[in-house]
Structures are given as structure tokens and as C-alpha cells.
């Protein structure tokens, strides 16, 4: 596993955040996790703007875990912005959310999500889901290389 690979977790519920981080830890996924607590913060971090203006913009996450229901900008709008920008359009985005409503899945895939995973209520299942996500996206999956200046 590439331990430098950054995971961007976009999650507004602090307890869900803690549970997700706990699940990573328990699954021995030790990668740095950046947490954005709403859609606007996620975009600020990705594009090194606003409160994140001074971060190293060349570091892009290997995996974005995106909740759908978020304050300010919701997950689908965030996904749309990610897919619309050359710097981020090829990043793997996994929607990780409570709902399996059909409309959400159709909209999510329609906007270019790479995967859609429901957060199980049962923590044992939740941990297993997070473990498999980490294994697949950080170990098995080969992402698109990020050239300087973004994807063309």
C-alpha cells in the first residue's frame, strides 16, 4: 500500500467521521486522511483556495469518499465541480452515504462517481466496507497519473 496516498473524506457528521476514521485504523489503513466538513470546504481543499490557499496544490487525493447530504454544497454539486475541473476530473470518487434511494444512485453515477457504497448501520459491516474500499482503491486500483497542471 502507498502510505503517502491521501484520502479525502467529505463528511459533515462528526460521529460518522470518527467511526470512519476508527474503521480505517482498525483495518490497518494508515494513510493520511483529510476531512472536509462540508461541500465548500472539500472544494477549497482540492483547489487550494480559501482557508486552504497555502496548501501544496500538487498533492491530490488518491481517493475521495463523498457523503451526499452536506451543508452548503451537497455531495452531487461537489462531484459535478470535481468532474468539471481538469485538475480533479479523473480522481476516484466513491459516494459513501446513508441512502440507497434510486434517484441518488442514478444522479451519482450520472455525474461520474466511480462507485456508490452505502454506510451500513451495523459497525461490523461498516468496518468491512471501509476495509474493502481501502484495499481496492488504495492497493488494487491504479489511478490516472496526475500531471503538473492537471489532467488534460
Amino acid at each position: 500500500m502507498n502510505h503517502e496516498a491521501v484520502i479525502l473524506l467529505v463528511e459533515d457528521n462528526p460521529q460518522d467521521e470518527e467511526l470512519t476514521l476508527r474503521a480505517f485504523r482498525k483495518s490497518k489503513i494508515l494513510n493520511p486522511v483529510v476531512v472536509a466538513r462540508d461541500g465548500a470546504e472539500a472544494l477549497d481543499w482540492l483547489f487550494a483556495k480559501g482557508a486552504h490557499a497555502d496548501r501544496d496544490a500538487s498533492v491530490m487525493p488518491h481517493l475521495i469518499l463523498l457523503d451526499l447530504k452536506l451543508p452548503k454544497l451537497d455531495g452531487l454539486e461537489v462531484l459535478q465541480r470535481i468532474r468539471a475541473d481538469d485538475r480533479t476530473r479523473l480522481l476516484p470518487v466513491v459516494i459513501l452515504t446513508s441512502s440507497v434511494e434510486e434517484e441518488d444512485r442514478i444522479a451519482g453515477y450520472g455525474l461520474g462517481a466511480n462507485s456508490y457504497v452505502r454506510k451500513p448501520v451495523d459497525f461490523t459491516q461498516f468496518m468491512e466496507a471501509v476495509r474493502q474500499l481501502g484495499l481496492y482503491w488504495l492497493v488494487l486500483n491504479e489511478g490516472a497519473p496526475v500531471p503538473a497542471g492537471g489532467f488534460r
Partner: protein
């Protein structure tokens, strides 16, 4: 020109009077309001019985009056405008929906104004034929209002479901997750009783999550658009059977599906019906070693029906009407788990198809669930 004798003159007058009388009778008895006014000075000359009833006036109060003496100024002005149009064009004029003040309140009318030409070829009279559309208009408005309200209710239900789907599960995840965290991180501080209590919390959280999912699927069934297409039910039931078998591979249950089952309906919703009925049968045969589930078609008093029969725990027919209610359960959760939403979902889908679902059973002798589907005409 030949002379007309006095006798012929008398008979001609009689004939004209007779014609006149019969025309009056026709006018009087027409179910729509008819009035006549002078095309030049615009005073009303006559009004039939239907007109008296519509306006709530007697013809004595009406005849000889101008529009402005009978109606408010703005209504009189529009009456004059369409009078002018009919008189000047010499052609009939249609006046669509307009309000008119009467002694019975505001009525909505449509009017056809027909100019009648005199011997000089100029309009001499205006004949008006007036239809009272107040009731029709009110019915249309009520219908539009009801449609709009139904639309709003649907939208509200959708946003409610959306919020339920997204927001109600998060607290449960927290209950379950942190209970598990307590067990893992504070194991030494907890005795068996403490761990058992945490187990209850996790169990309850998971059960509530299941309830939410079941209720959402029930509400989806209500919201979903209904397709009517030919369905190979045998194939559909076999896939549903494979799903229930896969969910509990530890058990062996003989599932027999009749060949050639077919119907017209919504295949996705029918799959939900059989998922629920088979899950039910699977669950309630749980205590039998020789469990058997049978799916087929039968002629019933309600017409051709499909059925799912099992040889499981059965139920007391005294409670048969409670089976299909939401959250109604006939068995203790310790015997057979479940949320009590499955059969309500079945009933709702079947009703949406125009059919009916019912059950027969006997304690310890198994149950049979029947359902019919309404029209078997596919959509064009």
C-alpha cells in the same frame, strides 16, 4: 299583386299567431337563458323562464331596462362592448366566461349574441343565448385545486422520504458503532451484563435501521409509476427464490414453482411482492425440517389468483384481517423476527394493480397467501 280577401287575411293572421305562440313556447321552455334586446337603444325586450331563474329577477323587472340599470358598471360596459361588436359586424359574437351579478350572487356565463336583421337589412334585435357555467367552472377549479394539492402532497412525501433515507440512519450508526467501540476499547471495565446491554443497544439500532428501510420501500411502492406489461411470472418467482435461498444458505427448503405462470403487471413491483411472500414463507417454515414452499395459480371466488403456500407455523384465521396492516405482527419477535411491513407492501402493490391479497392458514399447518391482479390489458 293579387288582392287578398278578408277570409284569407284572417286565416293568415291565425297561422302567424299560432307560429308565434309555438316559438314562444319553445323559447320559454329552453333550458338555457334567452333574451332579446333592441339593437338600437339596447333596452331589453324579453327574457325566458331560464333567464329569470339564472338572474333571479322577474321579466317585469328586466324588460325595458338597460344593462347599466341591471348590472354593475364594469359588467354593463363589457355587455355593451360585445353588443356593439355584434351590431356592427352583423354577425354572431361569442362571449367566453364572464362573471355576472345576480340576486343569487356572482354567476359565470358564456353568451352567444346573434343580431337579427330588420326589413331594412340592418340589425333590429339582438338575441342572446346564455349558458350558466358556474357549477362546471367550480368543479373544474375544485379538480385543479385537488390535483395541485395531490402534487404538493407527493412532493412533500418525496422530500420526507429523502430526509428519512439520509438523516434517520446516522444516529443509529452512532449508537451501533460506539456501543461496539465500548465493547472493544473498554472490555475490561464491562462485565457480562454490561456487554449484554450494549448488545441490546446494537440490536435495537440495527432493527430500527431495518424498519426504516422497510418503510421506505413501502413508500417507494406507493410513489413508483405502475407499468403494465406481460410478465413471465415463473421466471420472476424463480429469481426471487434464488435470492431468498442465497440470503440463508444454511437451510434447505424445497421451493416448487408452477411452470407457465404469466400475467400483465409491473415486473419490478411484482418482484417485490414475491420477495416478501417468499421471505415470509421462508421465515415461518424455519422450525420445520421438511420445509416446503409452493407457488402456483388457482381459480378462486375472486377470479384467477396466484398463491404462495408453505407448511410452516401458520396463523389463527381469527386474525387474518390483521395480517396486511403496517406493523401488524401475529408472532412474537422471539419466535420469528420481522418488522411487519412486508405484507403491507404486498397489499399495496396488489391494490395498485387493481387486485386484492388475502390469506388462509391454520396454526402449525401452514399458510397460503393469495392475490389477484386487476386488469390484464397491457399498456398500449
Amino acid at each position: 299583386m293579387r288582392d287578398v280577401g278578408p277570409e284569407q287575411e284572417v286565416s293568415r293572421i291565425e297561422r302567424l299567431e299560432e307560429e308565434n305562440r309555438s316559438l314562444r313556447e319553445i323559447l320559454e321552455n329552453l333550458p338555457v337563458m334567452v333574451f332579446v334586446k333592441d339593437a338600437n337603444d339596447r333596452r331589453f325586450l324579453g327574457l325566458n323562464v331560464a333567464g329569470e331563474a339564472l338572474l333571479g329577477v322577474s321579466r317585469d323587472q328586466f324588460v325595458g331596462k338597460l344593462a347599466e340599470e341591471l348590472f354593475p358598471a364594469d359588467q354593463a360596459a363589457t355587455i355593451h362592448a360585445s353588443d356593439d361588436e355584434a351590431v356592427q359586424s352583423g354577425r354572431a359574437v361569442e362571449v367566453p366566461e364572464e362573471p355576472i351579478e345576480t340576486s343569487r350572487g356572482t354567476r359565470w356565463i358564456t353568451t352567444r349574441k346573434v343580431p337579427v336583421l330588420g326589413a331594412d337589412g340592418l340589425p333590429k334585435w339582438l338575441v342572446g343565448i346564455v349558458e350558466d357555467i358556474t357549477e362546471r367552472r367550480e368543479a373544474e377549479e375544485a379538480r385543479a385545486r385537488a390535483l395541485q394539492e395531490a402534487d404538493e402532497a407527493t412532493r412533500e412525501l418525496e422530500s420526507f422520504s429523502y430526509s428519512v433515507a439520509h438523516d434517520l440512519r446516522a444516529p443509529l450508526r452512532s449508537l451501533d458503532g460506539f456501543s461496539q467501540a465500548l465493547v472493544e476499547d473498554y472490555h475490561d471495565l464491562l462485565d457480562d451484563e454490561g456487554r449484554r446491554y450494549l448488545g441490546f443497544i446494537r440490536g435495537s439500532a440495527q432493527r430500527m435501521a431495518q424498519l426504516i428501510d422497510d418503510l421506505l420501500s413501502l413508500s417507494r411502492v406507493t410513489r413508483a409509476e405502475l407499468a403494465r406489461e406481460p410478465v413471465d411470472l415463473t421466471a420472476l418467482v424463480r429469481s426471487a427464490a434464488a435470492r431468498v435461498e442465497a440470503s440463508d444458505s444454511g437451510r434447505r427448503v424445497e421451493i416448487v414453482v408452477e411452470d407457465g405462470l404469466a400475467c400483465v403487471g409491473d415486473p419490478r413491483l411484482l418482484a417485490v411482492v414475491f420477495d416478501n411472500l417468499l421471505n415470509n414463507a421462508w421465515k415461518f417454515t424455519g422450525k420445520r425440517a421438511d420445509a416446503r414452499i409452493e407457488v402456483g395459480a388457482a381459480a378462486t371466488e375472486e377470479g384467477p389468483a396466484f398463491y404462495v403456500r408453505d407448511n410452516g407455523a401458520g396463523f389463527d384465521m381469527a386474525y387474518a384481517d390483521k395480517l396486511f396492516g403496517v406493523f401488524q405482527r401475529l408472532h412474537a419477535a422471539s419466535d420469528f423476527d420481522g418488522t411487519g411491513v412486508g405484507l403491507a407492501t404486498v397489499q399495496r402493490i396488489v391494490r395498485r394493480h387493481g387486485g386484492r391479497a388475502w390469506a388462509q392458514g391454520e396454526i402449525d399447518r401452514g399458510s397460503t397467501f393469495f392475490f389477484t391482479l386487476g386488469s390484464q390489458e397491457p399498456d398500449a
